[in-house]
C-alpha cells in the first residue's frame, strides 16, 4: 500500500500523464477537424467527395491504431516527413479518430428532423445557414454523449503511443516496473491515474450537456443535475400546456371585416382583375417511374384562395412543394409572380444557395402538415430568427415583428416556450406566424390541420380564415376540411392521379360536384365527418 502511494505521487508517472493528455488532446482536436471535413464530404451532393470519404473510413477504421502509429513514426520518414514521436502518435490518433467522429457527426446531422430542414429551405435559408442555425445546434446537443465516449476511448488508445517511444503513462509504468519489479503497485497507481483522467472527461461531458440542456433554464437545477442521483423531472411546462389547450387559447377578437359574411361576387370580380400570382404549365413529375403530376396546368391570381382537394397520393403535397421548389420536376414550368425558381434568366440550373435567395426574393411562404418548427428555438425565435438570417432584419426589428405576429395568432403568452412544450394547435399557429413574418405574396399550406387532434383543428382554421379575409392573402391550401374549404376558398380544385379532375367556385363545386370522382370523394369525406 505504501508503494502504491509512493508511485501515485511519483513525479515520473505524473508527468507521463502530461504526454497522455497531450496525445489525447491533439488526437481529438485533429480527429475532430478531420471528422467534420469527412462528414461534410459524405453528406456532400458531389459523389466523388463522398466516395473518397468512404474509402478513407474503410482504411483508417479498418486497420489497427498500433499499425497507424508505427506507420506515422517509421514509414513517413521514408518519404521525407520525420515527425517527433509525440507528433507521430498524435497524427496517428487523429487519423484514426477522424472516421469515428465523422460517423457520429453524420449520424446526428441525419437524425435532425428533415421537416425542419424543409422549413428552413422554404423560408429562404441557404443550405449553409440551415446547417449552422438549425441542424448543427440540434445535432451537437445529441452528439455530446457519443463524443464523450470517443474522448474516453481516445484517452485509452493514447497508451498505444508507447510503441513509438512516447513517454506516456503506460510506457513509463512498464519501464518503472521493469526496473523495480514492483508490478502491481505501479500498475494500480497508473490505472487510478487513467480513471481520474477518464473521470475528468465524464465531468466535462456532464457540464457540457447541462449547459446545452434547453429544458433546464433554471440555474439552480444546472448544478443539481451534476449529482449522480439527480433525475430530470418531467417538464412542468408541457403539462401546463396540455391543460391550457383543453380550453384552447383564444384568438384576439375578430375584426369587423372578419365577422362580416363573404361577398363572393365582389371577391370574384376583384380576383379576375388581378394579375397572376402562380402560373403552372404542363407540370410533370414522377417518383420511381410513377407519375405524381401529369401535365398539370394551373393559374392562381393574387388575392385568390384555392383549396386543393383529393385523395392521398393525388399529388397535392407534391404540387405545393414544387411551387416552392422544394422538389424538382421533369418538365413544365412554374412562374411565381412572373419569376421561375431554380433557373436563371438563361434557363440554367441554379445552385441550392442561389435557389434559396430566389425563394426569399419571390416571397412564397409555406406551412407544413407537421408544423416543422425549429425544435431548439422558442416560439419567438422561430419567427425572429429567420427574419434576421434571411431578411437581415435587426434583432429589435425581428423581435418586434415576432411579438406582433404572436399576438395575432393569440400566443403572446407562449413566446418563450419551446415547440415541444406547446400543443399541436399552438405549434401550427406559430408556424403560420413564422411563414407570415417576411410578408409573403403567396402562402402555401400543406394539410395544415391533418396532424392535429380534432379539438385543436378549429383554432388553426380560424387563423387561416382571418388571413384570407382580413389580409387578402393569396393562398393555396391542400385540405380535407370540406366545410372550411367551402367557407373560405374562392376556388376548389379536385386532384386525382396528378391532374385536375374538376375545378370551380368553391361553394358551388363542393355542394354540387359534376364529376363522378369528385362526387364519390366528397361523399366519403362527408361520411367520415359524420362518424367523428
Amino acid at each position: 500500500m505504501d508503494l502504491f502511494f509512493h508511485y501515485l505521487s511519483q513525479p515520473y508517472l505524473v508527468t507521463g500523464i502530461v504526454y497522455t493528455v497531450l496525445i489525447t488532446f491533439f488526437g481529438l482536436l485533429g480527429g475532430g477537424i478531420l471528422g467534420i471535413v469527412l462528414a461534410g464530404m459524405q453528406l456532400s451532393r458531389f459523389r466523388a467527395l463522398s466516395v473518397f470519404a468512404r474509402i478513407y473510413a474503410v482504411i483508417f477504421r479498418g486497420t489497427p491504431l498500433i499499425l497507424q502509429m508505427i506507420f506515422c513514426y517509421n514509414a513517413l520518414p521514408m518519404i521525407g516527413i520525420k515527425l517527433t514521436a509525440l507528433e507521430a502518435a498524435s497524427l496517428a490518433l487523429a487519423l484514426n479518430e477522424a472516421p469515428f467522429i465523422a460517423e457520429i457527426i453524420r449520424a446526428n446531422i441525419i437524425a435532425v428532423d428533415r421537416g425542419q430542414v424543409s422549413a428552413g429551405q422554404a423560408l429562404g435559408m441557404t443550405p449553409t445557414v440551415t446547417m449552422i442555425r438549425i441542424v448543427v445546434p440540434q445535432a451537437f446537443r445529441t452528439m455530446v454523449p457519443a463524443l464523450g465516449n470517443e474522448a474516453v476511448s481516445a484517452l485509452k488508445n493514447s497508451s498505444l503511443a508507447s510503441v513509438v517511444s512516447v513517454q506516456e503513462l503506460t510506457l513509463r509504468s512498464t519501464q518503472l516496473a521493469s526496473a523495480t519489479f514492483d508490478f502491481f503497485s505501479i500498475f494500480f497507481a497508473s490505472g487510478l491515474m487513467y480513471l481520474v483522467l477518464a473521470g475528468s472527461i465524464a465531468i466535462i461531458q456532464i457540464v457540457v450537456e447541462i449547459m446545452l440542456d434547453l429544458d433546464h433554464p433554471d440555474p439552480k437545477a444546472r448544478f443539481a443535475r451534476l449529482l449522480p442521483w439527480y433525475r430530470t423531472p418531467l417538464p412542468v411546462e408541457a403539462e401546463a400546456a396540455e391543460e391550457e389547450d383543453a380550453t384552447a387559447t383564444p384568438l384576439p377578437p375578430a375584426s369587423r371585416k372578419a365577422i362580416a359574411p363573404l361577398d363572393r361576387r365582389k371577391r370574384a370580380q376583384a380576383i379576375a382583375a388581378s394579375r397572376p400570382a402562380v402560373e403552372i404549365e404542363n407540370l410533370t413529375k414522377s417518383y420511381d417511374g410513377r407519375k405524381v403530376l401529369d401535365g398539370l396546368d394551373l393559374t392562381v391570381r393574387l388575392g385568390e384562395v384555392v383549396a386543393l382537394l383529393g385523395p392521398s397520393g393525388s399529388g397535392k403535397s407534391t404540387l405545393l412543394r414544387c411551387i416552392n421548389r422544394l422538389e424538382s420536376w421533369e418538365s413544365g414550368t412554374i412562374r411565381t409572380l412572373g419569376r421561375q425558381l431554380g433557373v436563371d434568366e438563361n434557363g440554367l440550373k441554379l445552385t441550392p444557395a442561389a435557389i434559396a435567395n430566389a425563394r426569399a426574393a419571390v416571397r412564397v411562404g409555406m406551412v407544413f402538415q407537421n408544423f416543422n418548427l425549429f425544435g431548439h428555438l422558442s416560439a419567438r425565435e422561430n419567427i425572429a430568427g429567420p427574419l434576421r438570417w434571411v431578411q437581415n432584419a435587426s434583432q429589435k426589428e425581428a423581435d418586434r415583428r415576432a411579438d406582433e405576429l404572436l399576438e395575432r395568432v393569440g400566443l403572446t403568452h407562449r413566446a418563450d416556450a419551446l415547440p415541444r412544450h406547446m400543443s399541436g394547435g399552438q405549434q401550427q399557429r406559430v408556424a403560420i406566424a413564422r411563414a407570415l413574418a417576411p410578408n409573403p405574396a403567396v402562402l402555401l399550406l400543406d394539410e395544415p390541420t391533418s396532424a392535429l387532434d380534432p379539438e385543436l383543428v378549429n383554432e388553426v382554421l380560424e387563423v387561416i380564415r382571418r388571413l384570407a379575409v382580413e389580409d387578402g392573402l393569396t393562398m393555396l391550401i391542400s385540405t380535407h376540411q370540406i366545410s372550411f374549404a367551402k367557407d373560405v376558398a374562392d376556388r376548389a380544385i379536385f386532384l386525382a392521379d396528378g391532374s385536375i379532375v374538376e375545378q370551380g367556385p368553391a361553394d358551388k363545386m363542393l355542394s354540387e360536384p359534376s364529376n363522378p370522382r369528385t362526387r364519390q370523394f366528397l361523399q366519403i369525406m362527408k361520411e367520415d365527418a359524420e362518424l367523428v
Binding site: V14, T15, P77, K82, A85, V164, Q167, Q175, A179, F181
Partner: protein, 308 residues
C-alpha cells in the same frame, strides 16, 4: 538535452505538477525533443588519451547530440533509475556515454520495444542502438553491428525447477517458454520441435511478450515454465524474487552482443569501433563491467557482424 531534463526534475520538486512544469513539457515536446532522460553521471571514468586523436580524425561527430534507442527493461544493462526515473542506468548506458565522451558527442535516449530497436534505427528515428542486442547475421540485414560482449544465457525457472529444465534441449519439450518478440532464443527453442517429436514428446510452446518484466511475470503467475535470456538479467530476476524464482543453469550461445549502427555509414561505424577499442584497451570497459556485476570473461574484442 541533459540540461532540459535536469531543469524539469528540479522544478517538479519545487512545486509538484506546477503549471510551469507542464508548460515546459509542452514547449519541449513541441520543440521535437524527447523529454526523457539522460544518463547517470559519467564523471568518475576518465576518457582514454587516444580519444583526442579520434576526435581529430572524426571531427563531424564532435558537439553533436545523437539518439540512442534502447529497450529499457533489462536492469543491469538498461533500465530507468528507480531513484530518479528520469535517468537511464546500466552497463550499456555507461558504455554508450563512454563512446560519446571519447568521440565528443552527447546521447539522448529513445525507449522502444525490443522488436522496434532496429526499425527505429532504420527509420532514422535513432542514430545508434546499444541495448543488449545480440549481433546475428539476420539482424545485420537491418544494421551493422560492432560486438562488445560474449553471450551467456541463464535459464530462469520457478523455484525448485518443477519441470526439470536444464538448457535449450529436449528438457524443454512440452514446456512453455516466455520470450520477447524478436529475441534470438525464439528460433533456437522453435528448432527443438523436430527433436521433441523424434522422442515422442510435444514441442515446446512459446509465449511472446515485449519486455523482460512481462516474461518474468509469466513465470511468477505460472503461465510459463521458463524464460531464457541474458544470464545477468536472469540473476537480477532471481535476486528480486529469491523465494519464487531460480536460475536452472547457464548456457552459452554462439552470438555476441553488439552495438547497432546504420548500414552504409562506414565512417560512423569506424569511429564507434575505434572508440570502443580504445575504451577496452584503457581498461574502462572492464571497470564498467565490474560496476554492473558482469563477469570479466564476457568481454569480447570488437569485431564487425555484417550482412552476408
Amino acid at each position: 538535452m541533459k540540461i532540459t531534463g535536469t531543469n524539469n526534475s528540479l522544478s517538479m520538486k519545487r512545486s509538484a505538477a506546477s503549471t510551469v512544469f507542464a508548460a515546459s513539457m509542452i514547449a519541449a515536446a513541441f520543440c521535437g525533443s524527447v523529454v526523457t532522460a539522460t544518463t547517470s553521471a559519467q564523471a568518475e571514468t576518465a576518457v582514454p588519451a587516444a580519444c583526442a586523436d579520434l576526435q581529430a580524425k572524426y571531427p563531424d561527430l564532435k558537439g553533436k547530440t545523437l539518439v540512442n534507442a534502447v529497450n529499457p527493461h533489462t536492469p543491469g544493462y538498461e533500465a530507468i533509475d528507480p531513484e530518479d526515473p528520469t535517468k537511464y542506468i546500466g552497463f550499456d548506458i555507461d558504455l554508450g556515454e563512454a563512446i560519446g565522451d571519447c568521440l565528443g558527442f552527447d546521447l539522448t535516449y529513445k525507449a522502444v520495444t525490443f522488436a522496434a530497436l532496429l526499425t527505429t534505427l532504420q527509420a532514422g528515428q535513432a542514430d545508434i542502438v546499444i541495448s543488449d542486442i545480440y549481433a546475428t547475421v539476420d539482424r545485420a540485414k537491418a544494421a551493422d553491428f560492432i560486438t562488445y560482449l560474449k553471450v551467456y544465457d541463464g535459464v530462469l525457472v520457478a523455484k525448485g525447477n518443477p519441470k526439470g529444465i536444464d538448457g535449450i534441449n529436449t528438457s524443454l519439450c512440452g514446456a512453455v517458454a516466455a520470450e520477447n518478440t524478436g529475441y534470438v532464443e525464439v528460433p533456437l527453442i522453435e528448432a527443438l520441435a523436430a527433436e521433441c517429436e523424434k522422442i515422442g514428446k510435444p514441442a515446446p510452446e512459446i509465449q511472446l511478450y515485449d519486455n523482460n518484466a512481462n516474461c518474468i511475470q509469466a513465470i511468477l503467475s505460472g503461465r510459463a515454465d521458463t524464460y531464457i535470456n541474458d544470464v545477468n538479467t536472469v540473476d537480477g530476476a532471481v535476486e528480486a524474487y529469491p523465494d519464487k524464482l531460480e536460475k536452472a543453469t547457464a548456457v552459452t550461445l554462439p552470438y555476441s552482443v553488439g552495438i547497432a549502427v546504420p548500414r552504409n555509414n562506414v565512417e560512423f561505424r569506424d569511429a564507434v569501433m575505434a572508440a570502443l577499442t580504445e575504451i577496452q584497451k584503457s581498461g574502462l570497459q572492464v571497470e564498467l563491467m565490474k560496476k554492473w556485476n558482469l563477469p570479466e570473461d564476457q568481454l569480447e574484442t570488437p569485431k564487425l557482424v555484417l550482412a552476408e
